[in-house]
């Protein structure tokens, strides 16, 4: 499903003394089956932006097209469920959305809201739980008896069980341990690869952005500052550092080597293996 944002502007609390411009002149095109990372400082408008992807917020100017639905500013929209069942959002700290008596009921909540039968929803719950790497035994437990990490996984399973075409992730691994972080990010990537789910990842981790995304969008002061492939984006590390953003460890390592040893790399490396071979060739050249 394609999502297109055209000249989107969003103002919070319009017509009050608290009015505040959160987004302006945003033009984004999310292609079906793509993996997009959105990076930017806190307050750059990332979270506001992602709420436009399933019409939780309607633009105060411009338009958002989700599949074949067009959401325009100043129009009353009815029946947004169709959009919401197709675009799943995993919010920051999704464990805050758990409320049912059992894990199973909570995971079934989304699918059943979108019209799945109870049996179908239960099947989906089992599948989703397996996807997030949890055992079926916990289906009957109360979600409030689980550990923080487990709650997170159950909440994510609740969104996956909706079987969306587009998955929007708002820092899904914030506050998890490094291993859980890797597992969850890899799981999302696998889903993206296997089922062709378009994925939009809002993140502070440049490693994740470099590793998984086909396209990176940098948000700055409420608008798109730059977009491109990870290579494009990280080829100009100075620009990122100027914005107060980080670069992946490999790039930082390259920059440091260049500075300390006075050598020049011809290209930017985004994975450790790539970096090793690049360092080898550059050093090899120096030795000859």
């Amino acid at each position: 499903m394609r999502i297109t944002l055209q000249d989107v502007e969003y103002r919070y609390q319009i017509n009050t003394p608290f009015e505040h411009l959160a987004l302006h002149d945003v033009n984004i095109d999310i292609e079906p089956g793509s993996y997009t990372a959105i990076i930017g400082h806190t307050g750059s408008g990332k979270s506001t932006l992602l709420q436009h992807f399933n019409a939780l917020l309607k633009p105060t100017k411009g338009s958002v097209t989700i599949g074949d639905r067009r959401i325009e500013s100043g129009r009353k929209e009815k029946e947004l469920r169709g959009i919401r069942s197709n675009v799943g959002i995993v919010f920051q700290f999704p464990e805050h959305q758990l409320f049912e008596e059992t894990v199973e009921k909570d995971i079934c909540f989304g699918p059943m809201n979108f019209g799945a039968s109870e049996k179908d929803a239960k099947d989906r719950a089992r599948k989703a739980l397996k996807q997030v790497g949890m055992a079926e035994e916990i289906l009957e437990k109360s979600p409030f008896d689980l550990s923080g990490g487990q709650m997170r996984r159950v909440a994510i399973a609740g969104v996956l069980a909706m079987e969306p075409d587009v998955l929007v992730l708002d820092e899904p691994t914030a506050g998890l341990d490094p291993r859980g972080r890797m597992e969850i990010m890899d799981m999302f990537y696998q889903l993206h690869k296997e089922r062709g789910i378009s994925t939009i990842l809002v993140t502070h981790s440049m490693e994740d952005a470099a590793r998984y995304a086909d396209e990176i969008i940098i948000m700055h002061r409420g608008t798109v500052f730059k977009k491109g492939t990870p290579l494009d984006i990280f080829s100009q590390p100075e620009q990122l550092l100027e914005l107060g953003l980080d670069v992946p460890d490999t790039v930082r390592f390259q920059l440091k080597l260049q500075k300390e040893l006075g050598i020049r790399f011809e290209r930017i490396c985004l994975s450790v293996d790539d970096l090793v071979s690049e360092v080898k060739t550059v050093m090899g050249r120096g030795n000859q």
């Binding site: 919070y12 609390q13 017509n15 009050t16 003394p17 608290f18 709420q51 399933n54 939780l56 009815k78 469920r81 919401r84 069942s85 675009v87 799943g88 959002i89 919010f91 999704p94 805050h96 959305q97 758990l98 409320f99 909540f109 989304g110 809201n113 979108f114 409030f144 609740g158 969104v159 909706m162």
Partner: protein, 265 residues
């Protein structure tokens, strides 16, 4: 969605009313609530209205913002008005259509009570709109100080109040967040049959309570970790200052009261 709520919200603008001492504003609200019951005819209601309007103008709070914020309460006001028109059967019969009878007394009563309601809400929300929560509690604590003699836990009360006020916006934000998360999972809070909408509140309330309790516990631990042990011997960083403007406000209230007593029928 909850953006427009103004109850309990502070609007930081620079105005005469903002600069008043919280004690005088608290007294104003308290006395105003009492003396508004003195008004019982057009002239006296007019006076009270004028006084309210003057305060609002001095506070520099945009009227449109006030109006938007009070819209939800408008329903209640209109409702009382209609109720009075329909059911108060005093005075002259003005209009009759089938079972519908409108009396002169009902009209007056309805009008006066809705006016009283409006003025009360305006003046009380003016207090929170123009005074930040910490000042309100400070003022409250000082005003209630004499009651300590009678074992009233003044400090604890004001602490409770400041915590409650402090967490209104936080809880609102939290509500908004959870609402959105559940909307993304297919809950419809704003349309559909009433029964469905009531059911839709559960997925909102449960997480909200869970997080509120968690927050309360964390706050208690954080306070204890920083050595909080009640109000005994505690000094204040912000000192309250009674100024001429405060005295003038009190005087104007006295004048208003005198006029109300003289002009009421």
């Amino acid at each position: 969605m909850l953006d427009k709520m103004i109850l309990g919200r502070y609007v930081p603008v620079d105005s005469t009313v903002h600069k008043l001492d919280p004690r005088s504003k608290l007294l104003l609200v308290f006395l105003f609530v009492c003396i508004i019951f003195l008004a019982n005819n057009l002239v006296t209601y007019g006076l009270v209205g004028l006084f309210t309007l003057l305060l609002l103008m001095l506070s520099k709070i945009p009227i449109r913002f006030l109006y938007n914020g009070l819209k939800p309460i408008l329903f209640l006001i209109v409702f009382t008005f209609i109720l009075h028109i329909l059911f108060t059967k005093e005075g002259e019969l003005l209009y009759k259509l089938g079972w519908l009878e409108i009396y002169d007394g009902g009209l007056r009563q309805g009008l006066f009570i809705s006016l009283r309601f409006t003025f009360l809400i305006l003046v009380t929300s003016l207090l929170t709109l123009t005074t930040n929560p910490i000042s309100i509690t400070d003022g409250m604590e000082t005003l209630l100080h004499p009651f300590k003699k009678w074992k009233l836990p003044v400090h604890e009360l004001s602490l409770m109040m400041s915590i409650a006020l402090r967490f209104i916006p936080t809880l609102m934000e939290e509500t908004d967040k959870i609402m959105k998360a559940q909307m993304a999972r297919g809950v419809d809070f704003t349309s559909g049959p009433l029964k469905e909408r009531i059911k839709a509140i559960i997925p909102l309330l449960v997480p909200l309570f869970v997080s509120a309790f968690k927050r309360a516990e964390e706050l208690a631990i954080a306070m204890e970790a920083r050595g909080y042990r009640g109000g005994e011997g505690r000094t204040k960083y912000r000192q309250l200052k009674w100024q001429t403007a405060d005295t003038l406000l009190m005087l104007s209230l006295v004048v208003l009261t005198i006029f109300l007593v003289l002009l009421r029928s």
